[in-house]
Symmetry: C7
Subunit: 94 residues, 7 copies
């Protein structure tokens, strides 16, 4: 298991649905890069310069939308994850 | 539904009115990119480094004007939205 | 009407006086871009990271001078406006 | 009259003395751009993020030296001025 | 022994497992650069601008995941280490 | 006399000793640019965002060493000076 | 003697051991630039924006490791030194 540091969030990226035309799978392109995923782990929160810990807004199990240029891809146990700062999450899907 | 994080605002972008010349729809160009829309969701407010939440100024239903280079485009449920930080909103249309 | 957000100011840009040579209107060039205008609306003031609102210095009706590279052009109701942060205003014309 | 905003200072730039060789005025070059002038107006001072106004050090009538890349040139009433932040003034000539 | 300064962490980088095809060792490439290692030393913590020391989250012996562009490589006693700020550690492997 | 503003220091740059080979003065090159000088004037100190004045460490008469890329050259009364922020002074020669 | 300002540290750079192949001294290259040295002088500590002096962690005589791109080279009394901010020191060799 990966335990993120600070205000980081680990997201399991939603698989892109394959687009098919008459049964033929189309190659994905940059515009279709997924920007939605499920939060699988959250850090304890950002430690401010006064040593205060700011609580996290997102929690495990949340589906979230993020900017496609955010975060760092990490491979762990054969799975691909995205590690993001909470501030790079745009919205929670309710 | 999308619930924005922090001081983010989700805006439904106003459709550009099609310009027609003699019934022919003209292609839009960069200069006519819409910069007005309706706020459909607002975050809870920016969390300061002291852990204080600053209340939002804009609210759901506000029509707002923003810089055309601001924000992140997000597609959700077949609709296009723009996710902006409140500080990137220039003015509220009253 | 446009209500600016935070420390923003909306300025109605002073029309450039046309330069004519023998009755022929000369094309304007970059050097003559106007940098003076009239304030038509002001925001409520900058909200500091402590949640304090700093009062505005300029007010509606002030004639102001600004750097020609500042602000965002906004078209509203067929008129051109410039939306500026108050800190980008150089001076008030008294 | 121009009333500068915040910690800005308006300086009337000292005319470059013309260099002549045998009565012929030489073209000025970048190295001889004036960096000295007389303060003609000062702002009320920088407003800090706590809403405190920091008093100005320079005052009207001071002769000041500044970096030649600082400030914004403003033309007003047919005269050329330089609008600078006080922190871009290097020294006062005593 | 190396004692890191401030919020720095010294990581012993996990050896890349050699990829072989039919017994032939393949050259590593940028994509396979290791991003996991074991913490061998931690600093006393970041000193804030108020002179407060913020305690460290990671500790000696933790296995950590980091961005492959983070940190500084240091060779000491014939071993290769990576010196990172704690904030550049993405997650602890539990 | 020049009175520096804030945390600035005015330094009289030490003349480079001419290198001669058999009596021929060699042209100076970038590597020999002087980085040592004598402090001839100091400002009153940096004004912090709380309006507090931080006292200066260097004083008139100190010989100081600075980075050759720091500061602004100023010519005054036929002499060349360097105006530096105190934080760009590396060390005092004792 | 050089007395560093603020949080600066003066380091006497460890001589690179010459690599020889069959008695022939090899030219050093960028990868072998030394990153270890002995602290010969330390400043009084960083002055924070509240005017507080933060004590130094390293002290005279410490052997330290630093990033090869940090600091400013200074020649004094025929010796080469490196002047670094303490925060650019990676670790103390114990």
């Amino acid at each position: 298991m990966l335990q993120p540091i600070g205000d980081r969030v680990i997201v399991k990226v939603k698989k892109e649905e394959e687009e098919t035309v008459g049964g033929i799978v189309l190659a994905s392109n940059a515009k279709q890069k997924p920007t939605e995923g499920e939060v699988v782990a959250v850090g304890n929160g950002l430690v401010t310069s006064e040593g205060k810990v700011l609580p996290m807004t997102v929690k495990e199990g949340d589906r979230v939308v993020y900017d496609k240029y955010s975060g760092t891809n990490v491979k762990y146990d054969g799975e691909e994850y995205l590690v993001l700062h909470e501030k790079d999450i745009l919205a929670i899907v309710k």
